[in-house]
C-alpha cells in the first residue's frame, strides 16, 4: 500500500492523501449513507501517516521521523472530535495505531466489513431484513471479538440463512473460482514440484486463462479491486458477458478434448478417472446424479438430466447399453475401441454439462 497508494511519497511538506482516503473509504468505513467523515478528516489522516518510506532494493519499509508531521491532528464530529497528538522521533509511527483504533471504534466499520464478507460468501443484494438479521449480528460479534474474522465467519457459515435454499447458489463463480475449481473438481494432474519449471508453466496457463476472463491474479484493475466485488447493482454478474462466457467454455472444452500441452507435458480433464471414482459408474443414472451433485450448485431440470443420459446412451433408451459399454471397457481398459467408446460419450456429456449456465453458479 505504501507504494500502490503513494504512502512512501507522503511527507510533512507535501502530504499525499491517497492512502489516507482509501483507508477509510475502501478498507474500513466505506462510503455508505451513514458515513460522514469529511475532507478535513482525510487530510488529518494523511498527516498522521506521513514519514513512511520504502526501499525498492530490499523491498522493505521504514519510518523516517524527519518526514513526519509532528503537529496535532484534529478530526471532525463524525470521529467524536478526536485529536491525535503530534509525536516526534520514532514515536511518530505510534500515531498510526491511534488512527486505526479510531477507525475501528466506529460502528460502521464492523458493518461495512460484515457486508463485504456476506457478499463474498452469500449474495450481493442485502435487503433490510438481511441487514437487521444477519449483518448487524455479525458486526456485533465482530466488535465483541476484537475484529477477529474467524468467529464472524463461523456465525455466517453455520447460520440457517446460509443454508436456506433461497440463498444457495447465488454466487457466480469468479474466473479464479472457475479455473481453479475446474482443476480441483477433476483432480487435474500437474507436473509435480520436482519439475517446478513445467509446473509453473502450467500454473501460468491457468493464470492466463483467468486473466483473459478478466481476473488476473494479484493484479486488480484498481485500488477498489475487481468491480464484480463492489460495483452495484450488478456485482458478480459483471464476470459474465458475451466475451468472458465463451472463454470459460473454450478453456473447459480444450481441457476436456485435446488438453493443454507445453514442453511435452499435458494437463487435461481425465473423465475416466473422474467417473471411476463415482459410486457406480456403470449405472448411467447414478453416474449422472453423482456428477451433477458434485459439480452443480443448483438443481438441473429433469429434462436436462434426461438429455445428459441421452448423450451417454447415444440416443438409446436402454440403460444397459451404457452398462455394457462400461463393463467391456473395465474388462479391458487398454483396448482403444472399447475405451474410446466410453470416453467419447463421457466427453460429450461433460462438455454439455459444463457448458450449462448452471455450472457457472456456486
Amino acid at each position: 500500500m505504501l507504494r500502490y497508494l503513494n504512502g512512501y511519497q507522503n511527507n510533512k511538506n507535501a502530504p499525499d492523501e491517497n492512502y489516507a482516503r482509501e483507508l477509510q473509504e475502501l478498507f474500513t468505513l466505506g462510503k455508505g449513507p451513514l458515513v460522514f467523515y469529511t475532507e478535513a478528516d482525510v487530510r488529518a489522516a494523511a498527516r498522521v501517516l506521513t514519514g513512511y518510506t520504502v526501499n525498492a532494493t530490499t523491498i522493505s519499509s521504514s519510518f523516517d521521523p524527519n518526514r513526519h508531521d509532528t503537529a496535532n491532528k484534529q478530526f471532525s464530529a463524525y470521529y467524536q472530535n478526536k485529536v491525535i497528538l503530534g509525536k516526534t522521533g520514532v514515536n511518530g509511527a505510534k500515531e498510526t495505531e491511534e488512527l486505526i483504533d479510531m477507525l475501528f471504534l466506529q460502528d460502521e466499520t464492523a458493518l461495512y466489513l460484515s457486508r463485504k464478507l456476506y457478499r463474498f460468501f452469500v449474495y450481493y443484494e442485502i435487503d433490510a431484513a438481511t441487514e437487521a438479521n444477519v449483518i448487524v449480528p455479525m458486526a456485533n460479534l465482530f466488535r465483541a471479538s476484537k475484529y477477529e474474522i474467524k468467529p464472524v465467519l463461523e456465525l455466517l457459515l453455520s447460520s440457517t440463512h446460509f443454508y436456506d435454499p433461497v440463498n444457495v447458489a447465488g454466487m457466480i463463480k469468479s474466473p479464479l473460482d472457475y479455473c481453479v475449481g475446474l482443476c480441483k473438481e477433476f483432480k487435474m494432474q500437474f507436473p509435480d514440484s520436482t519439475d517446478f519449471a513445467n509446473q509453473y508453466l502450467m500454473y501460468d496457463y491457468i493464470r492466463t486463462q483467468a486473466s483473459n476472463m478478466q481476473q488476473n491474479l494479484a493484479d486488480p484493475p484498481s485500488v477498489s479491486g475487481w468491480p464484480a466485488y463492489y460495483q452495484a447493482p450488478q456485482f458478480h454478474e459483471l464476470w459474465i458477458n458475451s466475451d468472458t462466457l465463451p472463454r470459460r467454455n473454450q478453456m473447459m472444452n480444450i481441457l476436456l478434448t485435446s488438453g493443454y500441452t507445453r514442453n511435452g507435458k499435458k494437463i487435461f480433464i481425465d473423465v475416466l478417472t473422474y467417473v471411476n471414482a463415482l459410486s457406480n459408474p456403470g449405472n448411467p443414472n447414478l453416474l449422472i446424479s453423482d456428477t451433477v451433485a458434485h459439480l452443480c450448485a443448483i438443481d438441473l431440470t429433469p429434462e436436462v438430466i434426461q438429455f445428459l443420459k441421452g448423450i451417454l446412451l447415444s440416443g438409446q433408451s436402454t440403460d444397459s447399453y451404457w452398462t455394457d459399454a462400461w463393463t467391456s471397457y473395465k474388462a479391458n481398459p487398454t483396448n482403444t475401441v472399447t475405451r474410446n467408446m466410453v470416453v467419447s460419450r463421457l466427453n460429450s456429456m461433460f462438455s454439455y454439462l459444463l457448458n450449462l449456465p448452471e455450472y457457472q453458479l456456486s
Partner: protein
C-alpha cells in the same frame, strides 16, 4: 482455374502434402494467405442434405418388405409378419412393398421423390449400438477407430481453417446444424466439431423468441436467468438463426402433432427457407431398438414399430410438403439411416434382435426414384443368427451424395471418405450441379452377373462373374455378415471371369458371394453342404 485444380497443380511444391493419420491419408494445408484465400472459397451450391438418424436399429425387413421373399419371411418371423394384403404397393415394382403405416413415403415414391436402397451395411457388422453408431458416424471400417465424422471431414475440406475466421461474408451461417437428443460425432472434423447443436425444439423456440427456460425463485435462479440471457446472446450463430427463422412467417399447416421428428424437421424447413447457407442438418428419432412386442400380436400392422414408422413417414412427407410450400424443395435431399437392421428371424417375445444390413431411404425433389438393389434373399430355413447380407456399403451412399449433390471432386472424396467407394445413382441426373460422371451406369442391370457351380458345394465351388472392367470386388460373407474371404479386389479386364472358392473348413450353411464393380453389385447365395 478452379481452386482445387490450382492446389493440385502446385501440390509438388509442397503446398499440399499428405500426412498419415491412423493409416489414412489426410490433406494438410500449409499456412499461406494465398492458399487459405483460395481454400476459403467453398463450392458454389445452395444444396442442403438432411440426415435423419433412427436410433436403436430399425427393423428393415418390416419396413421395406420383399413381396418376392414374403413366404420365407413369414416363415422366419411368423409372430410379427405383416399380412401381405396390407402392404403398400409402389409404382413400377412388384417386388417391394412398404409397411402399411408409411403411406406418406408411398406417396413420395409414386411422385418420384423417393429412393429405396436395399440392404445397406458394411463388412463385419458390429452389433453394439454404440460401436455401430460410431462406425456410421465416422464412416470407418468395422475394425478401425476414426475419431472424426464423415460430414465433419467434408465440411473441413470445404471450409478450411474453421472456426478461425468464421462466420464471414462467404459463410455467415453454421456449417452444420444438429437438432435432437444426440450430440452427433458425424460432424466432428479432423480437429474441431464443425456442427452447431440446437439441443431441442424448445431451446430453438426460446432462442428465436428470446425467452429463457424456467428457473427457481431463488437467488441462484435469478443469476441463472442472467447467465442464460448472456449465453443466448453469445451463441455464435444466434443472430443468423434468429434472422433466418424470422424470414419464414408461415409454414405448411399439415405437420402432424405429437411427432418429435416432424417437430425437428419443421425447424429445419424454416431455417432452409429462411436462407441459412448451412449445408447439413441432422435430426433423430429414437426407440427403434425393438427387442420385444414390436407389433400387437393380433394386429401385426400396428404397435410400437408401426407408430415409429408412421412418425418417420408422416414427418418426411410433411417436411417435403412444407419445402414445396416454401419453394425450397429443389434445394434439399434427405436420407435416413439406422446403426443396423435387425435379425431375419424374430424372437419369441414378439421382437427382433440386433442385425446387419437394412434398407435406407433417400428423399427429395431430385432423389433418384427407384428401388436400388434386389430384395434381400431370405433362406427357407433361417437360424436365429441369420442376417441380411449387405448389398451396398453405407459409405457408397455417403460418397455418392457428396459427389452428386455437393459436387465433391473425386480427389477430395477420397480424403473425406478415407478410401474409394462405389458411386451409386442417388440423385436424378437432371439435378443441377451433378457431375456427369461416366462411372454412373444406367439403373439396375437385371442381367445375372454372378453365379457359382456346384451349388450346394462341399470342397469348393467355382464363381463365374462379369465385370465391366476396372476395379472389381468379390467377397464371401457368412449369414452373420462376417467377411469370410475376399476373392478379388483389383482391376480386371472387361468380360467373363472365373475364380474358385475353396472350403477352408467353414461351417456348413449359407454363404453369400458379393460382386461389386463400378455401380453394380449382385449377391449370390451359396450353400455349403455337410
Amino acid at each position: 482455374m478452379k481452386r482445387r485444380d490450382f492446389l493440385q497443380a502446385i501440390g509438388p511444391a509442397g503446398i499440399v502434402f499428405p500426412s498419415l493419420i491412423n493409416g489414412f491419408t489426410f490433406k494438410a494445408f500449409a499456412e499461406s494467405p494465398l492458399v487459405s484465400a483460395l481454400i476459403q472459397a467453398p463450392t458454389e451450391t445452395d444444396h442442403v442434405l438432411v440426415i435423419i438418424q433412427l436410433n436403436g436399429g430399425n427393423d428393415g425387413l418390416n419396413t421395406v418388405i420383399p413381396f418376392d421373399q414374403y413366404d420365407q419371411l413369414a416363415n422366419a418371423r411368423s409372430n410379427i409378419i405383416i399380412p401381405k394384403n396390407k402392404l403398400l404397393k409402389l409404382n413400377g415394382t412388384s417386388l417391394t412393398g412398404l409397411h402399411p403405416s408409411m403411406t406418406g413415403l408411398q406417396t413420395l415414391f409414386n411422385e418420384e421423390k423417393l429412393q429405396i436402397i436395399q440392404s445397406v451395411g458394411y463388412p463385419q457388422p458390429n452389433f453394439s449400438h454404440f460401436r455401430a453408431t460410431d462406425i456410421w458416424m465416422s464412416a470407418s471400417d468395422s475394425n478401425q477407430y476414426v475419431n472424426s465424422g464423415w460430414t465433419g471431414r467434408y465440411l473441413a475440406e470445404e471450409y478450411a481453417g474453421y472456426p478461425t475466421g468464421y462466420p464471414n461474408t462467404v459463410m455467415p451461417d453454421p456449417l452444420a446444424i444438429q437438432i435432437g437428443s444426440f450430440v452427433s460425432p458425424a460432424m466432428q472434423g479432423p480437429s474441431v466439431n464443425m456442427g452447431m447443436a440446437i439441443s431441442d425444439p424448445v431451446n430453438f423456440y426460446n432462442l428465436i423468441n428470446g425467452i429463457q427456460g424456467a428457473s427457481p425463485n431463488t437467488r441462484g435462479g435469478k443469476e441463472l436467468t442472467y447467465i442464460r440471457q448472456v449465453a443466448q446472446q453469445t451463441t455464435q450463430y444466434g443472430a443468423a438463426i434468429k434472422n433466418a427463422a424470422a424470414k419464414v412467417t408461415k409454414q405448411f399447416s399439415g405437420y402432424p402433432t405429437g411427432n418429435s421428428l416432424a417437430d425437428q424437421l419443421k425447424i429445419v424447413a424454416r431455417l432452409i427457407a429462411g436462407g441459412l447457407k448451412t449445408r447439413i442438418y441432422m435430426v433423430s428419432l429414437g426407440g427403434f431398438d425393438t427387442h420385444a412386442q414390436q407389433v400387437i400380436a393380433n394386429a401385426t400392422d400396428t404397435g410400437a414399430h408401426a407408430r415409429l414408422l408412421q412418425r418417420v413417414s408422416e414427418g418426411i412427407k410433411a417436411f417435403m410438403d412444407d419445402l414445396t410450400f416454401l419453394n425450397a424443395h429443389k434445394r434439399v435431399i434427405g436420407m435416413t439411416f439406422s446403426e443396423f437392421g435387425r435379425r431375419i428371424k424374430s424372437n419369441s417375445s414378439g421382437g427382433t434382435d440386433h442385425g446387419a444390413a437394412a434398407p435406407l431411404f433417400v428423399f427429395g425433389h431430385y432423389a433418384q426414384n427407384d428401388v436400388l438393389g434386389t430384395s434381400p434373399e431370405i433362406p427357407l430355413v433361417t437360424s436365429a443368427s441369420a442376417n441380411v447380407p449387405m448389398q451396398y456399403d453405407f459409405r457408397s451412399v455417403y460418397s455418392s451424395l457428396l459427389k452428386q449433390w455437393f459436387c465433391v471432386p473425386d480427389t477430395t472424396l477420397e480424403s473425406v471418405m478415407l478410401k474409394n467407394f462405389q458411386n451409386l445413382r442417388v440423385v436424378k441426373s437432371s439435378a443441377p450441379c451433378m457431375s456427369s460422371s461416366p462411372e454412373i451406369l444406367p439403373g439396375l442391370d437385371t442381367k445375372i452377373l454372378l453365379t457359382n457351380y456346384p451349388n450346394p458345394f462341399q470342397s469348393s465351388t467355382t464363381l463365374s462373374y462379369e465385370s465391366n472392367g476396372g476395379h472389381t470386388l468379390l467377397q464371401v460373407f457368412n449369414t452373420e455378415g462376417k467377411l469370410i474371404k475376399t476373392l478379388i479386389d483389383k482391376e480386371v479386364s472387361a468380360g467373363s471371369h472365373k475364380i474358385t472358392f475353396e472350403n477352408e473348413g467353414y461351417a456348413p450353411g449359407i454363404y453369400y458371394a458379393r460382386l461389386q464393380n463400378s455401380t453394380q453389385q449382385q449377391t449370390r447365395t451359396m450353400l455349403l453342404g455337410r
